[in-house]
């Protein structure tokens, strides 16, 4: 299938900090793609760069959505092209109600009948939110806020959904629930680009995985191959490859990721 999103060799600076050092990726239409990496590798920065959230960036490189370049244009125009973004740490409006959030999520749309249907659809995905329709979002729990952030993004009817660490700060059961809903959303035709720390979960639902280190992609492959890869197992999944009889680890597997 055709690539919905193509990022070609982008470089991003935060002032003088060289954060993304030439990264390329392609997201196939209808797939789930996962980006993994350590803290500070630049995972969130890639998503922010795609959304045009960092002023005057990317410094170099091309970002193409649906075959058309989208770098250096305003965030709201990128949103109107059909990319929804769930930022890290939820970013909800504390003093708007759940219902108002969902209405605001559809801010760029004009079809009020279908907006109503979509609100029902979001409540079907996240039944907890339905009981909180008229409650201020600031009073919700962390998990509910995450669900609300995803629901708000879905109200856009996006072609591509960017998710930045949806599992952040959630209990294991909730993580499972959210990931199964992500899969369900994908099965209805929304392409998903996912950034995660929880490598196991991310690789188990995605079709392609990429590993980011120090602003460069160092590994790319089918998710099920990555799950079997020795280095990925050791460094991301926390499975020790060898143990001594006494349980001491005498040596550590090392890998220069470049």
């Amino acid at each position: 299938m055709a690539n919905l999103l193509e990022v070609k060799n982008i470089e991003t600076y935060y002032d003088l900090v060289y954060a993304i050092r030439g990264a390329s990726l392609a997201v196939e239409e209808g797939s789930i793609t996962a980006i993994l990496g350590n803290n500070g590798a630049g995972k969130s920065t890639i998503l922010k760069t795609i959304m045009g959230q960092i002023e005057d960036q990317p410094d170099k490189g091309i970002i193409e959505f649906n075959g058309k370049p989208i770098q250096h244009i305003d965030t709201d125009k990128i949103v109107r092209k059909g990319i929804a973004y769930v930022p890290e740490g939820r970013e909800i409006f504390d003093e708007l109600t759940v219902h108002e959030h969902l209405l605001m999520g559809a801010y760029t749309r004009k079809d009020s009948e279908e907006i109503k249907q979509d609100i029902d659809q979001v409540f079907k995905y996240f039944p907890v939110l339905k009981n909180r329709t008229n409650q201020w979002a600031g009073t919700l729990s962390g998990g509910e806020q995450q669900m609300l952030a995803i629901g708000r993004a879905l109200m856009l009817r996006p072609r591509l959904l960017l998710l930045d660490e949806p599992s952040l700060g959630l209990s294991p059961i909730l993580v499972k629930e959210i990931f199964s809903i992500i899969q369900e959303i994908n099965s209805k035709g929304t392409t998903i680009l996912l950034v995660e720390q929880n490598a196991n979960m991310a690789l188990s639902i995605s079709s392609t995985g990429l590993i980011l280190e120090n602003g460069r992609f160092v590994m790319k492959g089918k998710s099920k191959d990555l799950l079997e890869d020795k280095d990925v197992k050791e460094f991301y999944l926390g499975i020790k490859s060898e143990t001594s009889a006494k349980g001491y680890q005498r040596w550590k597997r090392k890998k220069a990721w470049r």
Partner: protein, 291 residues
Amino acid sequence: MIDFIQMIVSGVAVGSTYALMGLAMVIIYKTSEVPNFAQGEMALITSYFAMMLLTQMNMSVYLAFFLSFVFAVVLGCFLEFAILRRAKEPNVLGMIVITIGIEMIILGFVSWKFGADQKTMPFPIGPYDSFIIGDIFISKLAVLTLVTALLFMIILYLFFKYSKLGLAMKATQQNSVAAQIIGIRTNRTLMMTWGISSLVGASAGLLISPTIMHPFMMWDPMLKGFAAAVMGGMTSLPGAVIAAYMLGIIENLFGGYVSIEFKTVVAFVIIVLVLCIKPSGLFSKHYIKKV
């Protein structure tokens, strides 16, 4: 007894102008968290503009007022677009200083262009036209101001509660990053806020101008309107209006029964008390962030 009722009536009358200024300030504060100290002078220049149209161009009152309101909206949008948006790495304090700068520029411009002396505004209702009920005088202008203030309050309240643009304005204030990523043009939203606020403020200016018209005429209403907005919690529209009327009435009663010299100071004593006892304002309900 007649005195007492008369004082309350004139308190409500003066409270209405405070309410309009308070509303105008609350609108801008709601979206950008900046108290706009240029609010009074924006209304001032609009009033002078209206006077110019009426006296020099001999326009009809309705056309002149309509054009003045258009002028007010354009002025508000222009100030946001040309000055505040250009601020590099803005923080709230910097923005406040910028609004004070705008205020002084407009004040200087008006004094230079029109002179600092008292002018008369050819308003269709004179300052002394009154209804007389029993022994109580109610000025027609005060009734008009009251109606305008309440009308604006209701319209704005509904606007912020139910309209898409109003919601977008609230969203922009609460989290501008999140507002951007759902497709709100935050810059344009802020500009429209300034336009609407300028319109509300200008209506106060036009309603004050028949009584007093000189470059400092908006000082008192602006500061009292700000006081009312603080009392009402800075983000609550009905709160600002109720506080404005309380302020007007208390001020008048104090002037009548205690001391006429210290009448204008009362408002600020009340602010200090409110900030000491309930700093979030009398009528605001805020979600307190859990850390």
